[in-house]
Amino acid sequence: MHRILLTRLAQGHRTNRMPNVAPPLPDRFRGLPVLDAKACASGCRACEAACPTGAISARKGLHLDLGKCLFCTACTDACPTGAVRFTGDHRLAVSDRKDLRIDSGEGLVLAEAMGKELRRVLGRSLRLRVVSAGGCNGCEVDVNVLQTIVWDLSRFGIQYVASPRHADGMVICGPVTRNMDLAVRKTWAAIPEPKLAFAVGACAISGGPYAGQKEQLGGAAEVVPVDYFIPGCPPHPLTILDGFLRALGRMPDQKTARKA
């Protein structure tokens, strides 16, 4: 007992200060990309050829679908003129799938908070059922880590629950394999209304590297109505938490973070 208490003291207080202060990210972290069509050399389209998922297009300007992007920087490496750049901005969650398609010089229209009535019901206590549907255990790892003392998800009133009947929403990872189709539908049906769905990671948004494979359905929105999309491969835990908190209207920058 003695030893446990001493160890506890030595391990110290480790919970970060979200939502007011974001913990530091590694310098090599790749967040929101910025496109510069003016720098784009005419018609080389080397980025398209390099991209594993067809996320980037250099036809009539530069366009990137963050829902497909794996943040692998193959496009950046292929581009002779530096027209694609990845910033350290971790905020990527949106509430409209269309908002993930970004154009040159554009920022991201970040996720809107859920409606007032929903917030009254779920705002202080959001229970989520996490379902892995063909995920690689990458998104699952970074969704799960939010429960550790560093992130302490429950201080925001958010909890992962075992039974869909106790849940207010579902978090889906993976492209939704054919073999998980039924399980995802049944889990969704078992969650009482009103309810929310979060698609976490490139696979759950677009099928990711598996898009087009006949063994999967191309993302969560093919099966359930998705309210929030959190891109990445996998998204950093900070990006995921930011998405959850945005849904609850709890991010301090939420009034200001709008398309310029």
Binding site: C51, E140, V145, P175, M180, A183, C203, Y210, Q213
Partner: protein, 512 residues
């Protein structure tokens, strides 16, 4: 002892296909069975789309790998499983993937719930609506007091899907059957004719918690088949990343084991410290899971002097905290009482099913790719061997926990030597990115990496155009899931979460 009919191969070295002896189906079968009977291990048994079978055998003590092949004239052959149980899942897999019928297979059931890629009848005779994961004829113990417990595919936590079917008498488990395939996304089928644009990303996400292990195995094949060597610096950075991946996952596993017996201090400390290890991978490449670090021909990011220094400082801190957190575990009699003599997998059982990795070592088997089939130029000889400690060979939950703990010490030893060795290699220069170089035609290459769960095996065969005519991915979990089923026999069903965690196997790595 290895049969003379096998072609000797080395880890990560390409070989012209014609150098692999093409045996008659009978001689092929005898060769595999005789090798296994004399103590060799079945690393892989697989088929291409043209009824050609490949077998890979390992004599681990002698550090020898051998390969044989045969061509069938029809999609059926006498099963190997009755004489070689380690072949059971491989043969079921070939039936489901290539439609090959293993005649006389005693446990003939689908593996993942999909139809064969090769045209022809489904060997399992399923109706279209029955081709789904989990639709298999489960074993059933009959009797008035027997009850059946089904769990999954959706489990009670943030876990991948799978279905577990228990046959119980009260608390006692007579039998556990595990049905997987829910995460099947068609990776191996997609690899045919490749490498394609998305191939590298599929390898990184074959088992996303083992990104470095699988991607390294893949890149080693690509490098051997294209003649591009990664160079000592890149190899060393890969080896550093591999051990960081091991440390993160072993820390997480020890914490989770503590959690499953209700010992919260270690559970909550390790949950956090695991993140610190993952953040060291992010220091290397920006991704906590090591995405985009390992690439054909080298690594995406170098580790300069300053970064090495930061790595060393943070590693030492994380290690000190890990030790403080984990040592509480061994000092708690209540924990030891729950870990010991639970979930027993004997050495004979482990050998029979072809178990690998920490789970096999915890049952007393001596196998570790890093020592016995080292990767070329990876300096993995710096890893001390782990079987000096009889405490961790009892085959129970305790042994599987203890083996991980010993391995973490070895990883730390390695890392501190490797970081110094990296400094001595001089600065790295950024190589041009070549994710898909041209591959040699009609070649075969086997690549093994000791991931944190055990041996990762990738087998690549190219056709006359240098495209994959076969690409086999074998996650260690493929061998080890049946170990979990055996370990539950005669145990209490309430011990399942603990036993399951002590193996901590991958679903997506098997489902592919």
């Amino acid at each position: 002892m290895m049969s003379g009919n096998l072609a000797r191969v080395s880890n990560g070295a390409a070989l012209p296909l014609k150098k692999v002896p093409k045996l008659s189906p009978g001689a092929f079968r005898d060769c595999v069975i005789a090798s296994v009977a004399s103590g060799s291990r079945l690393v892989a048994l697989c088929a291409d789309e043209k009824l050609q079978l490949f077998a890979i055998m390992a004599d681990d003590e002698a550090g020898i790998l051998g390969m044989a092949r045969t061509a069938l004239s029809k999609p059926a052959y006498p099963a190997l499983t009755p004489e070689c149980p380690a072949a059971q899942l491989f043969e079921r897999e070939m039936a489901e993937q290539q439609g090959l019928l293993p005649e006389g297979h005693p446990w003939f059931k689908p593996v993942r719930g999909h139809l064969p890629g090769r045209p022809g009848p489904d060997p399992f005779g399923r109706k279209p609506a029955e081709v789904l994961a989990g639709l298999i004829p489960f074993y059933r113990v009959e009797g008035t007091s027997i009850h059946e417990v089904g769990v999954g595919p959706v489990h009670a936590g943030v876990i991948e899907p799978g279905h577990f079917r228990f046959q119980c008498l009260g608390e006692e488990v007579f039998h556990l059957e595990i049905a997987l395939g829910y995460q099947h996304r068609g990776i191996e089928r997609a690899l045919l004719g490749g490498p394609h644009a998305a191939t590298l990303k599929m390898m990184e996400s074959a088992a996303g918690d083992t990104t470095i292990g699988h991607t390294w195995a893949y890149c080693q094949n690509i490098e051997a088949l294209s003649g591009i060597a990664p160079g000592p610096r890149a190899s060393l950075i890969r080896a550093i990343a591999l051990e960081l991946e091991r440390l993160a996952n072993h820390t997480g596993d020890l914490g989770a084991l503590a959690g499953d017996v209700g010992f919260l201090p270690t559970s909550s400390f390790c949950g956090r410290i695991r993140g610190d290890w993952l953040n060291l991978s992010a220091l290397l490449c920006g991704s906590r899971l090591g995405r985009d670090l390992v690439r054909p021909g080298g690594v995406g990011f170098d580790l300069d002097g300053d970064r090495c220094l930061e790595l060393r400082t943070r590693m030492e801190k994380a290690w000190a905290e890990t030790q403080a957190a984990v040592n509480l575990l061994w000092q708690a009699p209540t924990v030891m009482q729950r870990f010991e003599r639970v979930g027993l997998l004997t050495g004979e059982q482990a050998q029979e099913i072809g178990a690998v990795g920490p789970a096999a070592r915890a049952s007393g088997l001596r196998l570790d790719v890093r020592l016995q089939h080292p990767l070329s130029g990876s300096s993995q000889s710096l890893i001390p061997h782990g079987w000096d400690d009889p405490a961790g060979s009892g085959g129970d939950v305790f042994a599987r926990a203890w083996v991980r703990w010993r391995e973490m010490h070895h990883s730390i030893d390695f890392l501190s030597k490797a970081v110094s060795a990296l400094g001595a290699l001089g600065e790295g220069k950024k190589a041009e990115r070549r994710d898909r170089p041209a591959l040699g035609a009609n070649q075969v290459c086997l690549s093994l990496v000791e991931g944190w769960r055990g041996e990762i095996a990738h087998l690549a065969v190219t056709d006359a155009g240098g495209a994959f005519s076969l690409y086999k991915v074998i996650d260690p979990s493929f061998h080890n899931w049946s170990g979990l089923a055996l370990a539950m026999r005669g145990g209490q069903i309430s011990d399942f979460p603990l036993c399951n965690k002590s193996f901590n196997l991958s679903y997506c790595g098997v489902d592919l």
